[in-house]
Amino acid sequence: MARTIEKAVTVEPEIIAREKVPGPYANYLTAQEKAEIDHEIPRYETKRAVGIDALKIVQKYRGWISDDTLKAVAEYLSLSVAELEGVATFYTLIFREPVGRQVIYYCDSVSCWIMGGEQVRAKLEEHLGIKPGETTADGEYTLIPIQCLGDCDKAPVMMVGEQMHRHLSCEKIREIFAGENA
């Protein structure tokens, strides 16, 4: 939807120049990344709203969002870095630190908690030898808590990469990782 600025005129570019001197990150994003971001832009009312998608696109290629990547995306969308950081740090699915090859999201919300989510977390910590927010030394797994995966009736649940695991128990966790390691 195009914005209507009722009173504002579009004064010709000679006089209302909104051009920008190219910023320091002008060449940072790849053509592919830019193209995918451009594709998202018309789908939202404001550039601000594109922020989350843009971050996801870039993260898809780079694995995580470094400070420089954050700044490059902000520059590309003409957003302030602080604003985009607000978006990046709000969503669990955006990584501001390098993560392992697989990310384990265990649910720490109410239903899962009632159904023994805490034991699941303890088991995961024990099995992987890391605390939530950390990555295993071999760079394989990162453990991240998440608020409700929308599968409450099968609580407790977790997601490893894209794969959901339901009705978790300590036993089940052992099995899952036994299979993975095999």
């Binding site: 914005r3 209507t4 600025i5 009722e6 009173k7 504002a8 005129v9 004064v11 010709e12 000679e14 006089i15 209302i16 120049a17 909104r18 051009e19 920008k20 001197v21 320091p24 990150y25 002008a26 060449n27 940072y28 994003l29 790849t30 290629y61 780079r62 694995g63 995580w64 969002i65 470094s66 400070d67 420089d68 990547t69 954050l70 700044k71 490059a72 302030s80 870095v81 602080a82 604003e83 985009l84 950081e85 607000g86 990046a88 740090t89 709000f90 501001r96 630190e97 390098p98």
Partner: protein, 962 residues
């Protein structure tokens, strides 16, 4: 007016307001956090809960948020209801689970809204025993401390910083339990209004870093009502002193000027007062051959002399001597009183304005625009109410910052109107912001650079000053075709001129903002035509904000004597006079008042002027280039140590009082001059009447009385300050709080006897904790306090309604200026269009909120930020000269060579550069003499390591903080 009942009592209240606003305006205590009178309600903190009853029979009622509930006729509410009290107390208890309770080491302590509200809510015992979340703090630059652990997540900071002040580098980061209010990474906050966070944040997260260096509790500070002297907006301030040093400056509410907010130059520029460059003693220069040094023969040394000796020497200038001429050089940064005393001392015909010819003529132009019947000068609330604004040639963010903050609010009027149409109360901030689809009240900026308001403009024209003036003339012609037309305007400019004219003509409250920022008389002339045309169209004067650079620019121009032989009173005239006198074998004695000539005119000419004078007397606050060349130096009071008057851009004469007495021999400049007059009269039998009159000046009121007799435009000025004999129940107003501590002991390290408090004969204020406190009228009230309200929010208790006017009347006198000549009709001299010359770039002045103000540059934090000042270069010229952003460039201006960093701007037309003015370390460039420069690359900026395109694999970069 709706009638409501609160806790059984009936009130008649303003319709359309929310209950919190209403309760506070009625003087009732109701706690709140997220609401702020300037920012409206979002209902986030749940602190302002009250019980609302459906009818008289309803006994249980239901909880509502005061700030989100419109008052309705017949409404029945209770603040004291137990369930509401319990709820509020529980909310605080919840907020406090993470709060460190570190009041004893917190600089907010004693003036903390959180402390006040906690007490008010009745939550006085802490039960929570769990651990608290902690945060890593950031370095936010020289002005502001960050202590995130104290945050109660009320979101006021980001709402103020982003939505109200337009800042972009502060945000709410993280989520849940871990919300963090900060920057993306360490670094100075970018907004020039960041300092208000110190007062906006209800806790000790953001505190004043400059204050930390010499901290004292609020109740231990001695304060007095003062006025900011770092630009001509005239914001009201409360500076605080302890142990003879200035500790900080905070906002002092004025309903017609600053309201709740200052700019950072005004808040943090105060430290110049404590600077090592401060003059405190009378010094008489002696030339000395310094053996075995590299000093040149005429290097001066400045042995201290006794004040009596100094005054005697100054008095010698009063004895008639046909072999010399005594010239007084005034200053736009000195008070009316000091300037007037100098004028009286040297005689009207020998008084000069102390500015360059261009500045003098601009002062004259601004004054006459002020006096024009076509203009009316707007208050800050008037500016906020404007629904169409045209800024012509002024970068207000840097020359009158508080005005820029008001303009930022003005563009919201379109959205506010829309809300009103939809019957959404304008205080419903979240709802109103939802409505905001980008529609804005028009703000068109025609300036020499995009300026910091560019993010809210409806249109922008960046051009050379002469082209801006031409554009202005074209707007006037469009409004009224009988105004002279401009030929040769480009099509887009022509169309934009039509658009701007339409906006101005169809607006209810149009506003023109103009001023001397471009140093262009043409722009003032064009403004003349615009106001004339628009006033005719509206059959009413046009709100016109006329910006001049210094605290008393307008006041000084009023002091220009109207002698029959009206001479041009600028410094070049003095330079010429000195030379003529030299040739005629006459000596010239200069008495220079609070002025550094090297910042006013070409430094070579200033040097010649001073060297050519026989005697140079300087009265000033700081050791400046001019002071160093003086023969006799008197220490002058800084504003915080003086009583005096400034005339702001609004044309408001504002009186201020000393917070403390300056140390050593510091006193107001007029007193030195009056002392000399007295000495002269005592030691001579014949003396002119005006010197005799001066000799009798004892109090500031005496000077003001003489001033208003001598200067017609200043009629009424001596009635502004409450009379020095003014008393409240027989008491003076106390400068110290009733809790001021340690007075009997604070100087015990020097002498065990209690030091006598200084006596203030000059004003109705006392240097004491004894006296009237909260009862003082606004003009004398330096800081507000009410039982239970220790923070700045206590101002609620002194306003006719929250966020409204101060009870007892806003201080200051709006002067009515009379236009000198008769109405001169249309201005017809339209300048030629700017023609770019690739070899010789036009130099256009650029002002920096940190860096272009002489005095605040001596505050270390301001000085640090002034180093950011850059030369603005057009991308077109940069491409041609192979200059990139941030490169070091050289500017060849006649015989001077400047080096500074370049900032590229794609909006800037080719052929001009914007040179920052007044920056420490850069010589003053007199644009009257050197208007053009050659530009070259000196050194390529170190390229940031980020302009690479790393492979899409995981880059081994350092992580963020989450």
């Amino acid at each position: 007016m709706p009638k409501i009942k609160i806790d059984g009592k009936e009130y008649e209240v303003e319709a359309g307001q929310n209950l919190l606003h209403t309760c506070l305006s009625l003087g009732l205590d109701l706690p709140y956090f997220c609401w702020h009178p300037e920012m409206g309600s979002v209902g986030a903190c749940r602190q302002c809960a009250v019980t609302q009853y459906a009818n008289e029979e309803d006994e249980r009622g239901r909880l509502v948020m005061g700030c989100m509930t419109p008052v309705t006729d017949g409404g029945i509410y209770s603040i004291g209801d137990q369930s509401a009290q319990d709820f509020r107390s529980a909310v605080i208890e919840d907020l406090m689970t993470n709060h460190p309770h570190d009041c004893p080491v917190c600089e907010e302590g004693g003036e903390c809204h959180l402390q006040d509200m906690t007490e008010m809510s009745g939550h006085t015992v802490r039960y929570y025993e769990g651990s608290k979340r902690t945060h890593v703090n950031q370095d936010l630059g020289p002005f502001i401390n960050h202590e995130m652990n104290r945050c109660i997540t009320c979101y006021r900071c980001v709402r103020y910083y982003r939505e109200y002040a337009g800042g972009t580098d502060l945000a709410a980061l993280g989520r849940n339990y871990q919300v963090y209010f900060g920057r993306q990474q360490d670094g100075a906050l970018e907004s020039e209004f960041a300092g208000n966070l110190v007062e906006v944040c209800p806790t000790g997260v953001f505190t004043d870093k400059t204050f930390s260096g010499h901290y004292a509790r609020k109740w231990d500070l001695q304060t007095a009502p003062s006025v900011c002297n770092h630009c001509a907006v005239g914001c009201n301030t409360t500076p605080g002193e302890r142990y003879g040093a200035l500790r900080r400056v905070v906002n002092r509410y004025h309903g017609d000027i600053n309201g709740y907010f200052l700019c950072d130059r005004g808040r943090f520029g105060y430290e110049y007062v404590n600077s090592e460059l401060r003059l405190k003693r009378v010094l008489g220069a002696a030339e000395k051959d310094l053996l075995a040094t590299t000093a040149t023969k005429d290097t001066k040394v400045f042995p201290e002399i006794s004040p009596q000796k100094g005054v005697q020497k100054l008095a010698e200038l009063l004895s008639p001597d046909s072999a010399r001429q005594v010239i007084g050089i005034g200053s736009p940064r000195a008070t009316l009183e000091n300037n007037f005393a100098l004028r009286q001392f040297v005689g009207d015909e020998n008084f000069y304005l102390g500015v360059s010819p261009r500045a003098a003529s601009l002062m004259e132009g601004c004054k006459s625009l002020h006096a024009s019947p076509d203009t009316r000068s707007p208050t800050i609330p008037d500016i906020e109410a404007a629904d169409a604004v045209f800024i012509l040639g002024e970068d207000v963010s840097n020359t009158a910052p508080r005005v820029a903050l008001a303009l930022r609010q003005s563009v919201r009027n379109a959205v506010l109107d829309k809300a009103r149409k939809l019957k959404i109360p304008t205080w419903q901030d979240a709802a109103v912001r939802q409505l905001d689809d980008g529609e804005r009240s028009p703000l068109f900026i025609a300036a020499t650079e995009p300026t910091r308001l560019a993010d809210v403009v409806s249109g922008l024209l960046v051009a050379a000053p002469q082209d801006l003036a031409r554009f202005g003339f074209a707007v006037a012609h469009t409004i009224d075709p009988s105004a002279p037309a401009v030929t040769g305007l480009s099509q887009p400019q022509q169309r934009a001129a039509v658009q701007v004219a339409e906006w101005l003509m169809s607006a209810r409250n149009p506003l023109l903002v103009t001023g001397s920022g471009c140093q262009s008389e043409d722009i003032i002339e064009a403004s003349r035509n615009i106001t004339r045309a628009l006033a005719k169209h509206r059959a009413a004067p046009v709100n016109t904000c006329i910006v001049q650079p210094e605290a008393n620019s307008l006041g000084l121009s009023l002091l220009q004597p109207e002698t029959p032989t009206a001479h041009q009173q600028h410094l070049m005239q003095v330079a010429q006079l000195v030379e003529e006198n030299q040739e005629a074998g006459l000596g010239t004695c200069l008495v220079i008042l609070e002025n550094d000539l090297f910042t006013r005119i070409d430094p070579h000419i200033a040097e010649r002027l001073i060297r050519g004078a026989k005697t140079v007397v300087v009265l000033d606050v700081l050791l400046t280039g001019t002071t160093q060349r003086a023969d006799l130096i008197f220490p002058a009071s800084a504003v915080v140590e003086s009583q005096g008057t400034f005339v702001s851009n609004e044309g408001r004469a504002q009186h201020f009082y000393p917070v403390y007495e300056g140390s050593d021999y510091i006193q107001e400049s007029w007193r030195w001059l009056a002392d000399a007059a007295l000495y002269f009269c005592q030691h001579n039998t014949e003396f002119p009447p005006h010197i005799e009159a001066m000799a009798n000046w004892e109090h500031t009121a005496d000077v003001d009385a003489a001033l208003q007799n001598a200067v017609p435009g200043l009629a009424g000025i001596s009635e502004i300050p409450p009379d020095r004999n003014f008393r409240i129940s027989g008491l003076k107003v106390a400068r110290q709080t009733h809790r001021y501590s340690g007075r009997t002991a604070m100087y015990a390290n020097l002498c065990v006897a209690e030091k006598k408090q200084p006596v203030d004969d000059d004003s109705p204020l006392s240097y004491s904790m004894e006296g009237a406190h909260s009862e003082a009228p606004p003009a004398l009230a330096s800081s507000s306090w009410a039982p239970g309200w220790n923070s700045n929010q206590s101002i609620n208790k002194f306003q006719d309604e929250v966020g409204g006017h101060l009870r007892g009347g806003e201080s200051g006198l709006r002067l009515t200026l009379e236009e000198a000549g008769s109405d001169s009709g249309w201005k017809t001299e339209i300048p030629n269009a700017f023609a770019a010359d690739p070899e010789q770039l036009l130099i256009v002045p650029r002002y920096c909120v940190f860096g272009s103000d002489e005095l605040s540059n001596e505050a270390p934090g301001v000085r640090e930020l002034s180093a950011r000042a850059k030369l603005l270069v057009s991308s077109l010229d940069a491409d041609r000269l192979d200059i990139r952003n941030h490169d070091r460039v050289g500017l060849q201006i006649r015989d001077q060579d400047l080096e500074l960093d370049a900032e590229l701007c794609a909006d800037l037309p080719a052929g001009m550069v914007c040179l920052p003015m007044g920056i420490p370390g850069l010589p003053h460039i007199d644009l009257d003499i050197s208007a053009y420069a050659g530009l070259r690359l000196v050194q390529r900026a170190a390229t940031a390591p980020v302009s690479r395109n790393p492979s899409p694999d995981i880059a081994p970069e350092t992580g963020g903080q989450q």
